[in-house]
Protein backbone atom coordinates (compact mmCIF):
# COMPACT_ATOMS: atom_id res chain seq x y z
CA UNK A 1 0.00 0.00 0.00
CA UNK A 2 1.35 3.39 -0.95
CA UNK A 3 2.32 5.59 1.99
CA UNK A 4 0.09 8.48 2.91
CA UNK A 5 1.33 11.98 2.17
CA UNK A 6 3.91 13.19 4.62
CA UNK A 7 2.10 16.49 5.12
CA UNK A 8 -1.31 14.97 5.84
CA UNK A 9 -0.51 11.66 7.48
CA UNK A 10 0.09 13.02 11.03
CA UNK A 11 -3.32 14.69 10.90
CA UNK A 12 -5.30 11.59 9.99
CA UNK A 13 -5.79 10.38 13.57
CA UNK A 14 -6.91 13.79 14.73
CA UNK A 15 -9.32 13.96 11.83
CA UNK A 16 -10.75 10.54 12.63
CA UNK A 17 -11.19 11.55 16.27
CA UNK A 18 -12.83 14.86 15.48
CA UNK A 19 -9.95 16.82 16.94
CA UNK A 20 -9.13 19.05 13.98
CA UNK A 21 -10.34 22.63 13.68
CA UNK A 22 -13.16 22.96 11.19
CA UNK A 23 -10.99 24.64 8.56
CA UNK A 24 -8.22 22.03 8.88
CA UNK A 25 -10.74 19.18 8.74
CA UNK A 26 -12.33 20.61 5.63
CA UNK A 27 -8.95 20.97 3.89
CA UNK A 28 -7.95 17.44 4.81
CA UNK A 29 -11.28 16.08 3.68
CA UNK A 30 -10.74 17.77 0.33
CA UNK A 31 -7.30 16.20 0.02
CA UNK A 32 -8.48 12.69 1.01
CA UNK A 33 -11.08 12.79 -1.76
CA UNK A 34 -8.33 13.00 -4.34
CA UNK A 35 -5.54 11.00 -2.71
CA UNK A 36 -5.77 7.20 -2.79
CA UNK A 37 -2.95 6.67 -0.31
CA UNK A 38 -4.39 8.97 2.37
CA UNK A 39 -7.88 7.60 1.80
CA UNK A 40 -6.60 4.05 2.26
CA UNK A 41 -4.68 5.05 5.38
CA UNK A 42 -7.77 6.68 6.87
CA UNK A 43 -9.87 3.65 6.03
CA UNK A 44 -7.37 1.34 7.75
CA UNK A 45 -7.59 3.50 10.89
CA UNK A 46 -11.39 3.28 10.79
CA UNK A 47 -11.24 -0.50 10.54
CA UNK A 48 -8.82 -0.60 13.45
CA UNK A 49 -11.24 1.48 15.52
CA UNK A 50 -14.08 -0.91 14.75
CA UNK A 51 -11.92 -3.87 15.65
CA UNK A 52 -10.84 -2.31 18.94
CA UNK A 53 -14.39 -1.41 19.85
CA UNK A 54 -15.54 -4.99 19.26
CA UNK A 55 -12.60 -6.30 21.27
CA UNK A 56 -13.71 -4.45 24.37
CA UNK A 57 -16.85 -6.09 25.62
CA UNK A 58 -18.87 -5.73 28.74
CA UNK A 59 -18.83 -8.49 31.25
CA UNK A 60 -22.44 -9.04 32.33
CA UNK A 61 -21.33 -10.68 35.57
CA UNK A 62 -18.95 -7.94 36.66
CA UNK A 63 -21.66 -6.06 38.56
CA UNK A 64 -22.70 -9.21 40.39
CA UNK A 65 -19.11 -9.80 41.48
CA UNK A 66 -18.87 -6.18 42.57
CA UNK A 67 -22.03 -6.56 44.64
CA UNK A 68 -20.65 -9.68 46.29
CA UNK A 69 -17.37 -7.96 47.20
CA UNK A 70 -19.17 -4.92 48.51
CA UNK A 71 -21.36 -7.01 50.75
CA UNK A 72 -18.36 -8.95 51.94
CA UNK A 73 -16.65 -5.71 52.94
CA UNK A 74 -19.54 -3.69 54.25
CA UNK A 75 -22.41 -6.07 54.76
CA UNK A 76 -25.84 -4.97 53.56
CA UNK A 77 -26.55 -1.59 52.13
CA UNK A 78 -27.20 0.21 55.37
CA UNK A 79 -24.22 1.11 57.47
CA UNK A 80 -21.75 2.59 54.98
CA UNK A 81 -24.42 4.72 53.38
CA UNK A 82 -25.53 6.02 56.79
CA UNK A 83 -22.01 7.03 57.74
CA UNK A 84 -21.48 8.63 54.37
CA UNK A 85 -24.67 10.67 54.59
CA UNK A 86 -23.77 11.84 58.07
CA UNK A 87 -20.28 12.73 56.96
CA UNK A 88 -21.53 14.70 53.98
CA UNK A 89 -23.87 16.71 56.20
CA UNK A 90 -21.63 17.18 59.22
CA UNK A 91 -18.33 17.78 57.45
CA UNK A 92 -19.12 21.35 56.34
CA UNK A 93 -20.25 22.23 59.88
CA UNK A 94 -17.12 20.72 61.37
CA UNK A 95 -14.97 22.57 58.85
CA UNK A 96 -16.70 25.87 59.62
CA UNK A 97 -16.29 25.34 63.37
CA UNK A 98 -12.62 24.54 62.92
CA UNK A 99 -12.03 27.60 60.77
CA UNK A 100 -13.85 29.78 63.26
CA UNK A 101 -11.77 28.47 66.13
CA UNK A 102 -8.58 28.87 64.12
CA UNK A 103 -9.51 32.43 63.22
CA UNK A 104 -10.25 33.25 66.88
CA UNK A 105 -6.90 31.86 67.97
CA UNK A 106 -5.09 33.74 65.22
CA UNK A 107 -6.77 37.02 66.04
CA UNK A 108 -5.97 36.59 69.70
CA UNK A 109 -2.35 35.96 68.90
CA UNK A 110 -2.29 38.94 66.56
CA UNK A 111 -3.67 41.20 69.26
CA UNK A 112 -1.24 39.84 71.77
CA UNK A 113 1.56 40.35 69.36
CA UNK A 114 0.49 43.88 68.61
CA UNK A 115 0.09 44.66 72.28
CA UNK A 116 3.55 43.40 72.94
CA UNK A 117 4.95 45.41 70.10
CA UNK A 118 3.25 48.55 71.30
CA UNK A 119 4.47 47.95 74.83
CA UNK A 120 7.96 47.63 73.55
CA UNK A 121 7.65 50.74 71.48
CA UNK A 122 6.26 52.81 74.32
CA UNK A 123 8.24 51.45 77.21
CA UNK A 124 11.36 50.19 75.69
CA UNK A 125 12.32 52.57 73.01
CA UNK A 126 15.99 52.59 74.05
CA UNK A 127 16.19 48.80 73.71
CA UNK A 128 14.42 48.76 70.38
CA UNK A 129 16.63 51.43 68.98
CA UNK A 130 19.69 49.65 70.25
CA UNK A 131 18.59 46.32 68.70
CA UNK A 132 17.84 47.75 65.33
CA UNK A 133 20.85 49.93 65.10
CA UNK A 134 21.15 53.65 64.94
CA UNK A 135 17.90 55.21 63.91
CA UNK A 136 17.84 58.94 64.27
CA UNK A 137 14.07 59.19 64.47
CA UNK A 138 13.71 56.58 67.17
CA UNK A 139 16.63 57.93 69.08
CA UNK A 140 15.06 61.35 69.13
CA UNK A 141 11.65 59.94 70.00
CA UNK A 142 12.76 57.81 72.88
CA UNK A 143 15.73 59.62 74.22
CA UNK A 144 14.94 60.80 77.69
CA UNK A 145 15.01 64.49 78.34
CA UNK A 146 18.46 65.50 79.11
CA UNK A 147 18.90 65.56 82.84
CA UNK A 148 15.38 64.51 83.67
CA UNK A 149 12.78 61.78 83.49
CA UNK A 150 10.06 61.36 80.82
Amino acid sequence: MKRACERWEPMLSRYLDGELEEREASTLQEHVRSCDACRAELQSFRELSTLLASHVESDPFFVARFRARREELWGGNGSLQLWRRLAVRLLPLAAAAFLGAAAAVWLTMEETGLAELEARQLGDGFLMAAEEGPNPVLQIAFEPFPGGEH
Binding site: R14, F45, H55, E57, F62, F66
Partner: protein, 185 residues
Protein backbone atom coordinates in the same frame (compact mmCIF):
# COMPACT_ATOMS: atom_id res chain seq x y z
CA UNK B 1 -29.07 9.83 29.53
CA UNK B 2 -28.20 10.90 33.05
CA UNK B 3 -24.69 12.27 33.48
CA UNK B 4 -22.25 10.44 35.73
CA UNK B 5 -22.38 13.32 38.18
CA UNK B 6 -26.17 13.10 38.38
CA UNK B 7 -25.97 9.37 39.02
CA UNK B 8 -23.33 9.94 41.70
CA UNK B 9 -25.52 12.59 43.35
CA UNK B 10 -28.40 10.12 43.50
CA UNK B 11 -26.11 7.54 45.03
CA UNK B 12 -24.81 9.99 47.67
CA UNK B 13 -28.39 10.80 48.44
CA UNK B 14 -29.10 7.21 49.37
CA UNK B 15 -29.99 5.40 46.16
CA UNK B 16 -27.73 2.39 46.54
CA UNK B 17 -28.53 0.92 43.12
CA UNK B 18 -27.49 4.12 41.38
CA UNK B 19 -23.84 3.27 41.89
CA UNK B 20 -24.26 0.12 39.83
CA UNK B 21 -25.10 2.31 36.83
CA UNK B 22 -21.59 3.73 37.14
CA UNK B 23 -20.14 0.24 37.37
CA UNK B 24 -21.98 -0.93 34.26
CA UNK B 25 -20.88 2.14 32.31
CA UNK B 26 -17.20 1.81 33.04
CA UNK B 27 -16.35 -1.79 33.91
CA UNK B 28 -15.26 -2.74 30.38
CA UNK B 29 -13.11 0.34 29.92
CA UNK B 30 -11.43 0.09 33.31
CA UNK B 31 -10.81 -3.63 32.98
CA UNK B 32 -9.22 -3.16 29.60
CA UNK B 33 -7.23 -0.18 30.78
CA UNK B 34 -5.85 -2.21 33.69
CA UNK B 35 -5.15 -5.13 31.39
CA UNK B 36 -3.11 -2.85 29.19
CA UNK B 37 -0.69 -2.48 32.09
CA UNK B 38 -0.71 -5.81 33.87
CA UNK B 39 -1.64 -8.11 30.98
CA UNK B 40 -3.49 -10.49 33.21
CA UNK B 41 -7.28 -10.52 33.01
CA UNK B 42 -7.77 -11.78 36.52
CA UNK B 43 -5.57 -9.07 37.97
CA UNK B 44 -7.19 -6.50 35.71
CA UNK B 45 -10.58 -7.54 37.09
CA UNK B 46 -9.28 -7.10 40.64
CA UNK B 47 -7.93 -3.66 39.86
CA UNK B 48 -11.19 -2.56 38.28
CA UNK B 49 -13.21 -3.96 41.18
CA UNK B 50 -10.96 -2.19 43.68
CA UNK B 51 -11.42 1.08 41.83
CA UNK B 52 -15.18 0.78 42.05
CA UNK B 53 -15.07 -0.22 45.69
CA UNK B 54 -12.94 2.83 46.43
CA UNK B 55 -15.35 5.03 44.52
CA UNK B 56 -18.25 3.45 46.41
CA UNK B 57 -16.57 4.19 49.70
CA UNK B 58 -15.26 7.65 48.90
CA UNK B 59 -17.78 8.87 46.34
CA UNK B 60 -18.36 12.05 48.29
CA UNK B 61 -14.76 13.11 47.88
CA UNK B 62 -14.95 13.35 44.12
CA UNK B 63 -14.89 17.10 43.84
CA UNK B 64 -18.17 18.76 43.09
CA UNK B 65 -18.06 19.55 39.39
CA UNK B 66 -15.22 17.06 38.91
CA UNK B 67 -15.43 14.27 36.37
CA UNK B 68 -16.39 10.86 37.70
CA UNK B 69 -14.93 9.24 34.61
CA UNK B 70 -11.58 11.02 34.99
CA UNK B 71 -11.46 10.04 38.67
CA UNK B 72 -12.14 6.37 37.87
CA UNK B 73 -9.51 6.25 35.16
CA UNK B 74 -6.89 8.04 37.25
CA UNK B 75 -7.37 5.66 40.14
CA UNK B 76 -7.29 2.62 37.84
CA UNK B 77 -4.13 3.75 36.11
CA UNK B 78 -2.39 4.50 39.41
CA UNK B 79 -3.41 1.16 40.82
CA UNK B 80 -2.37 -0.72 37.67
CA UNK B 81 1.01 1.02 37.67
CA UNK B 82 1.49 0.04 41.31
CA UNK B 83 0.66 -3.56 40.48
CA UNK B 84 3.02 -3.53 37.54
CA UNK B 85 5.85 -2.41 39.77
CA UNK B 86 5.12 -5.28 42.14
CA UNK B 87 5.05 -7.90 39.46
CA UNK B 88 8.43 -9.60 39.04
CA UNK B 89 7.76 -12.32 36.61
CA UNK B 90 8.49 -11.92 32.93
CA UNK B 91 5.33 -11.74 30.85
CA UNK B 92 4.58 -14.08 28.07
CA UNK B 93 3.35 -12.38 25.02
CA UNK B 94 0.84 -15.19 24.59
CA UNK B 95 -1.76 -13.64 26.79
CA UNK B 96 -4.98 -14.95 28.10
CA UNK B 97 -5.97 -16.20 24.71
CA UNK B 98 -7.36 -19.53 25.81
CA UNK B 99 -10.37 -20.28 23.66
CA UNK B 100 -12.56 -20.76 26.72
CA UNK B 101 -11.66 -17.34 28.03
CA UNK B 102 -12.26 -15.79 24.64
CA UNK B 103 -15.73 -17.31 24.51
CA UNK B 104 -16.57 -15.91 27.90
CA UNK B 105 -15.66 -12.45 26.69
CA UNK B 106 -18.79 -12.05 24.69
CA UNK B 107 -20.83 -12.80 21.62
CA UNK B 108 -19.26 -13.55 18.28
CA UNK B 109 -21.54 -13.03 15.38
CA UNK B 110 -21.21 -13.24 11.65
CA UNK B 111 -17.92 -15.18 11.58
CA UNK B 112 -16.86 -18.72 12.27
CA UNK B 113 -15.76 -19.21 15.85
CA UNK B 114 -12.25 -20.25 14.85
CA UNK B 115 -11.60 -17.24 12.62
CA UNK B 116 -13.03 -14.87 15.18
CA UNK B 117 -11.00 -16.34 18.01
CA UNK B 118 -7.87 -16.15 15.93
CA UNK B 119 -8.47 -12.49 15.09
CA UNK B 120 -9.15 -11.75 18.73
CA UNK B 121 -5.93 -13.52 19.72
CA UNK B 122 -3.97 -11.58 17.12
CA UNK B 123 -5.48 -8.31 18.25
CA UNK B 124 -4.66 -8.95 21.90
CA UNK B 125 -1.12 -9.96 21.05
CA UNK B 126 -0.66 -6.96 18.82
CA UNK B 127 -2.11 -4.68 21.47
CA UNK B 128 0.14 -6.08 24.16
CA UNK B 129 3.20 -5.48 22.02
CA UNK B 130 2.72 -1.79 21.46
CA UNK B 131 4.33 0.47 24.00
CA UNK B 132 2.25 1.21 27.15
CA UNK B 133 2.59 4.96 26.66
CA UNK B 134 0.95 4.51 23.25
CA UNK B 135 -1.54 1.87 24.25
CA UNK B 136 -3.05 3.77 27.17
CA UNK B 137 -4.24 6.91 25.38
CA UNK B 138 -5.48 4.86 22.43
CA UNK B 139 -7.61 2.73 24.75
CA UNK B 140 -9.03 5.82 26.43
CA UNK B 141 -9.91 7.25 23.05
CA UNK B 142 -11.31 4.10 21.46
CA UNK B 143 -13.08 2.57 24.44
CA UNK B 144 -14.36 5.65 26.25
CA UNK B 145 -14.45 8.11 23.40
CA UNK B 146 -12.56 10.63 25.51
CA UNK B 147 -11.37 13.82 23.90
CA UNK B 148 -7.66 14.43 23.61
CA UNK B 149 -7.97 17.22 26.13
CA UNK B 150 -9.59 14.90 28.65
CA UNK B 151 -6.94 12.25 28.11
CA UNK B 152 -4.22 14.88 28.54
CA UNK B 153 -5.79 16.01 31.81
CA UNK B 154 -6.12 12.51 33.23
CA UNK B 155 -2.64 11.41 32.26
CA UNK B 156 -1.00 14.75 32.99
CA UNK B 157 0.47 15.00 29.49
CA UNK B 158 0.70 17.91 27.07
CA UNK B 159 -1.98 17.83 24.38
CA UNK B 160 0.60 17.45 21.63
CA UNK B 161 1.96 14.33 23.34
CA UNK B 162 -1.50 12.76 23.40
CA UNK B 163 -2.01 13.54 19.71
CA UNK B 164 1.33 12.08 18.70
CA UNK B 165 1.02 8.96 20.84
CA UNK B 166 -2.47 8.06 19.68
CA UNK B 167 -1.33 8.37 16.10
CA UNK B 168 1.76 6.27 16.73
CA UNK B 169 -0.32 3.69 18.59
CA UNK B 170 -2.52 3.22 15.53
CA UNK B 171 0.47 2.87 13.24
CA UNK B 172 2.16 0.39 15.58
CA UNK B 173 -0.98 -1.61 16.15
CA UNK B 174 -1.77 -1.86 12.48
CA UNK B 175 1.76 -2.94 11.67
CA UNK B 176 1.84 -5.50 14.50
CA UNK B 177 -1.55 -6.89 13.57
CA UNK B 178 -0.55 -7.12 9.95
CA UNK B 179 2.55 -9.11 10.84
CA UNK B 180 0.61 -11.44 13.08
CA UNK B 181 -2.04 -12.03 10.50
CA UNK B 182 0.61 -12.68 7.90
CA UNK B 183 -0.04 -9.48 6.04
CA UNK B 184 2.03 -6.32 6.12
CA UNK B 185 1.91 -2.99 4.51
Amino acid sequence: MESDEQVLARFLDGDERAFEDIVIRYEAGLRNMAFGFVRDWSLAEDIAQDTFLRAYQKGGTIKKGGSVRAWLYRVTINRAQDELRRIKRKRETALDDHPAAAEQQGQISGESLAASLELRRHLRRAFSRIRPEHRTPLLMREVEGMTYAEIARILGWPLGTVQARIHRARLELRSMLGKLRGMDK
